[in-house]
Amino acid sequence: MFAWDLLANAVVAGLLLGGVYAAVSLGVSVIFGLLDIANIAQPAFLILGAYAAYVMYNAFGLDPILSGLLFTPVFYLVGAAVYRVYYGSFERRGEESLRGLVFFFGILFIIEVSLSLKFGVDYRLVQSGYVGKSIEVGGIGIAYRLLVPCLVGLAMTLALHLFLARTFYGRAIMAVSQDRLALRLMGANPVKIKTVAFGIGIAAASLAGALLITITPVIPSTDRDYIGRMFAITVLGGMGSIGGTLVAAIILGIAESLMSTFFGPSWAQAVSFGVLLAALAVRPAGLFGR
């Protein structure tokens, strides 16, 4: 007899995982999807955010998600500064393609090595009050450790979507991704707009890092595990589509969860990336790409 309860649990677990994946990928969606900047260092900022949450948890017992929120302005400024350096050194001179990539690789390694030097190479994790606990709704178990980050991920997605759709800066970011020259002719400064967008992308990564450390232990090199996932979700969702990022993240999450439950976890990632390839074969611009 088919285990419907297992199916329901697997789908819910996939939804929760999808929410987390969405949070992790939002920054890439803004920076890579909208600004067309291949910021390879994005996962390093994710891990930097995780360490910031770890430090606050250890020093003050602060919940990682609260720490993540507190740190977003700091990471926004860091992101804005990184973009300014990138712009001044590469983009302005039209040398952003290869040299810019090397620049971001450099940042990734600097962050990794700095974290190793400061915190050592031990795994770091936080054990918030809700970790290890779950609720049961109609036979479906929901782990708080995944539920809370998922809800925050959904809130982040909604907030970013509203920001891009409803605010002046948001619309300007959408505009700069479509036609930089036209934006300049309208009297807006594309560099300023891109600085804001880049800062938002890095701030989103830092908050996602705080969510991540509640789910899994991290070491400085954990970032490498997420490079593939982040970019795959962004591409599957459609470059620059925030809603698409969420849908793609949920598809990957559910695919992984179903495979893990019914066919063996070994196939989970292979199948989810198979979904990516199949989707791109049908819609090369991604699910919601223009």
Partner: protein
């Protein structure tokens, strides 16, 4: 005109002076050679996935070097360590050891930490006929049977079953005897080896396998896996995992309410201080492999207390595991074996050192070590411990006995199993 005798005197003086100069020069060379350090080279995981163990291992090796140099070195020569970061990347190993041997001209080599990093090194050692001390590699030499390889993890003559043997032997002794088994592990070298051994033992003890699956190492959410295992109602759940998955599996087990009769087995990382002090009571009841525990029988071994005192004093500055109960004592013991072999053979001849290690028993801080035919310990000593009565997350409770109780083998037993798993959670 000079007299013939005066010419002979001049010649004699010149020859004498030259002889003195040659003698002095050769004596100088001798003195210089005697003071030349013995270079020991290795790669080590100082960054990357295994660095949480690689760095403490390095610290232990450095402590051994300092201890030996304080005593005047080996063969009257100081020890010099030459090491590079292998970044936990097996692809870097051939380059590192080629440089160590051909450019740095090291006299001796040891391996870096871990099975995956030893695998590419063994063929190099075989090609150059070197003695190789292996640091915590599981079953690396099973295929090659290289006689000059010696491995310090106390896996014993049959390393593939070493992780699981105590676990299943304990399970088989329980009353009522558990019947069904779920096997799960990461798609990586160590977990795969451990699972092969576990499958063999499942047959041997007459259990029935109801779940046998693997997962990719960078899995984020383990709840679907644990839920699938729970659906099988397995009495025994054997997990072969690396540190992040160990945490993921344990947390998911608590969230899903997985409560088999015995849970654990080959979960790497649970013994690390950072996890002990983070997971705290969540560890209670888990039966897991280990190599060292702060129980009286181990603390009584000569030299261990002094080593741990020195290690713990230097650990914080080095940014490594503050207790150092897992790998560091064995890393130090590995160097003790090598050092005693150099002293025993009174030289650095690779073959003589290997012959000496093969033929002799060594006194180390982890006890007496004798190597068997395949370079593993002649008698295995992988422990099976159970986490018991952990309260809170204070590090102090883990310094002494009682929290990580040794259940197996009998000669090292320090307590009794709390069975079934659910009883230990109360």
């Amino acid at each position: 005109m000079r007299q013939p005798w005066s010419r002979s005197i001049v010649r004699a003086v010149l020859v004498g002076a030259l002889s003195v100069v040659v003698l002095l020069a050769s004596a100088g060379t001798f003195v210089a050679q005697a003071a030349d350090p013995i270079k020991i080279g290795f790669g080590m995981a100082l960054t990357g996935g295994l660095s949480a163990n690689g760095k403490p291992a390095l610290l232990a090796v450095q402590i051994w070097k300092d201890d030996i140099n304080k005593k005047g070195g080996l063969l009257g020569r100081p020890i010099d360590l030459v090491f590079y970061d292998d970044q936990t990347n097996p692809a870097t190993v051939p380059g590192i050891y080629t440089k160590l041997l051909d450019v740095d001209k090291v006299n001796l080599i040891i391996s870096g930490y871990g099975t995956n990093l030893i695998a590419p090194l063994l063929p190099i050692a075989m090609e150059r006929k070197l003695t190789l001390m292996g640091m915590f590699g599981l079953a690396n030499n099973e295929k090659y049977q290289y006689p000059n390889y010696f491995q310090i993890q106390p896996a014993g003559p049959d390393p593939q079953i070493s992780t699981a043997i105590g676990f299943f032997e304990l399970a088989a002794k329980q009353n009522p005897k558990p019947q069904t088994v779920a096997l799960v592990g990461a798609d990586a070298e160590y977990p795969q080896n451990a699972l092969v051994g576990a499958r063999e033992l499942v047959k041997k003890f007459g259990f029935k396998t109801v779940y046998d699956k693997t997962y990719p190492p960078n899995t984020v959410d383990y709840t679907p896996i644990v839920r699938a295992i729970k659906a099988t109602n397995a009495d025994i759940v054997f997990v072969a995992s690396y540190p992040p998955d160990s945490v993921g599996m344990l947390r998911a087990a608590h969230e899903v309410g997985l409560q088999p009769k015995i849970f654990g087995g080959g979960m790497v990382g649970l013994m690390f201080t950072t996890f002990l002090t983070s997971l705290g009571p969540m560890l209670n009841g888990v039966v897991n492999y280990d190599f060292w525990a702060p129980e009286p029988v181990f603390l009584a071994m000569p030299g261990i207390k002094e080593f741990l005192k020195e290690y713990q004093a230097r650990a914080e500055k080095a940014g490594v595991d503050p207790l150092g109960y897992y790998l560091p004592p064995y890393s130090y013991a590995l160097m003790q074996v090598l050092g005693q072999a150099v002293e025993g053979t009174k030289g650095l001849d690779q073959q003589k050192i290997a012959d000496y290690i093969r033929a002799n028993e060594f006194s180390t801080i982890v006890g007496k070590i004798k190597f068997g035919k395949n370079g593993e310990w002649a008698t295995g000593r992988t422990l099976m411990v159970q986490y018991q009565k952990i309260q809170g997350t204070s590090i102090e409770q883990f310094r002494g006995p009682g929290k990580k109780v040794v259940l197996w083998p009998d000669e090292f037993k320090s307590g009794t199993i709390i069975y079934p798993y659910a009883s230990a959670l109360k």
